[in-house]
Every structure is written in C-alpha cells, then in structure tokens.
C-alpha cells in the first residue's frame, strides 16, 4: 500500500466533496479490478445502496480503471503509477472519484460511438466509455495537480 502523492499534492479544503471519503489505492494491474469490485460491493452493502446504483457504478468503475491501467499509467516508468478511488455517498447521489497520475486523458470528451448495423461492420472495442455515459448521472473530468480526476455518479433514487 502506498500512502503517497495523491494525498500529498492535493489541497483538501472544507468544500472538497471527497474530503471524508472511503479510499482504495490500486496497483496498475488488471487483476486489481476484482479487488475494486469487491471493495465497492462492501461499501454498497454498508450503505444499503440500491442494486441498480451498484450495477451502474461497478460497471463504470471497471471500464474506467481498465482504460487507465491499459492505456493511461502504462506510459509511466515501472513502479511510478498511482491510482486511487474515493467513494462518497451524499443524500441523493453515490459518487466515485478515480485519480491517476497518467498522461492527461479526458474520457468524457470522447465522441459518441455510432452503433454498427451488422457484425461485419462492427469495430472491436470502444464501448466502455459509451456504457459509462449512458449509465451514469454524473460523468465529469478534470486534470489537476498532475492527476486525472474522473467522477462517476449515480443517483440513489431514479428520476
């Protein structure tokens, strides 16, 4: 476990929505996705999150982390990758914030993929961001303090 730079470089003021969040630090390996899924399931059980909220957040967390681990922090020298996930539940929304120190990449700015008309025309890949965009109520990004910050939010009560 690292206790490192994500905390150190961050100015957490009283307005920081994730100041008192639950936090999970992850190594830059795809095997860590199972641990992240289990961690979120534990928090969902503790906070009695609706099953649909858990589904949406769990799938979005996996998609976002898979992209970061495969394409993001893989650009860094071995051992320098830092990935952390914060979880916070407010009255009407459960949110995850993923922080990583890979090159700046904004998944929310990617163009919507056009669904193919046939298997022959379908291109392999590209559905992860599409799924996040459709399932989440909040999907926002910023780059601050040398880190990508991606927020995944799902309402607790459907509107």
């Amino acid at each position: 476990m690292w206790s490192g730079s994500l905390d150190g470089e961050e100015t957490i003021g009283p307005d920081d929505a994730f100041a008192a969040a639950d936090r999970l630090a992850l190594a830059a390996e795809l095997d860590e996705l199972s641990r992240a899924a289990d961690w979120l399931e534990g928090l969902a059980a503790r906070d009695a999150l609706p099953e649909r909220t858990l589904f949406k957040l769990q799938l979005s967390l996996e998609e976002a982390l898979a992209n970061i681990i495969t394409y993001g922090v893989s650009a860094l020298p071995a051992g320098e990758a830092r990935i952390a996930v914060d979880y916070r539940q407010d009255r009407d929304m459960a949110r995850l914030r993923i922080s990583d120190n890979g090159p700046p990449f904004d998944p929310t700015a990617r163009e919507e993929v056009v669904n193919p008309a046939s298997i022959e025309e379908a291109e392999v890949g590209g559905h992860g961001i599409q799924l996040m965009r459709h399932l989440l109520d909040e999907f926002s990004y910023c780059y601050a303090g040398g880190h990508n910050r991606l927020i995944l939010g799902s309402r607790l009560v459907p509107v």
Binding site: L30, D31, L33, S34, A37, F55, Q58, L59, E62, E63, A66, N115, P116, A117, S118, I119, E120, A122, V124, G125, G126, H127, G128, Q130, L131, H134, L135
Partner: protein
C-alpha cells in the same frame, strides 16, 4: 467464471457461468475461439448464468461473432439476464447478434 460445452446433433451449446468482465474475458474468448475451430456447425452461447458483462466481454463476443460470420455459420446467444440485456441495448449488440 465457469465454462463448458455440449454438442448435439444440430449445434453446440457453450454454457458460461459467472462474470464476463475484464479479468475473465480472455479465458472466455479463447474457449469460444477454440470451440469454433474444433467443432463444426452452429453455436449457441447460453448466457443464462451470466449476470454481468463489461465492454471486454462484448469485445470477446464480437470477435467470436465475426469468426462465425466469416465462416458462414450460425451463432446465437440465449438467456440474457437484465443487466446483460441493458449493456447489449446500449452498445447495439442486441441488434447485431441473434438472440434467442
């Protein structure tokens, strides 16, 4: 994830149980591609015990789908659970795959 297959007179059924996620998609893909190579004829992938699929699982299904199309063989998916169905609807896979 557990996976096995059963061959009958007209087609082969691949049964998957568990999560078709990023961690398991490669194993699933290898198994399905090996089956396509080793067993002739139509193929049904029984998804009734799959309660979760990520884009990596979609990717593996698409690779299998493309191989079957190229070989002019019939591929169908059966027993889609609600979350899997939702992911299929969003990604357009519900339209391009034969679902029974």
């Amino acid at each position: 994830m557990q996976i096995d297959r059963e061959q009958n007179d007209t087609h082969t059924v691949i049964r998957v149980k568990g999560r078709l996620d990023t961690v398991h998609a490669k194993t699933f893909e290898s198994y399905v591609c090996d089956t396509i190579r080793d067993v002739p004829g139509a193929l049904v992938i029984d998804m009734s015990q799959v309660d979760y699929i990520a884009s990596s699982g979609l990717r593996s299904l698409l690779i299998a789908g493309k191989q079957m199309k190229a070989a002019q063989r019939d591929l169908a998916l059966s027993g889609l659970q609600p979350h899997v169905r939702e992911v299929f609807d969003i990604s357009g896979f519900a339209t391009i795959f034969k679902i029974v």
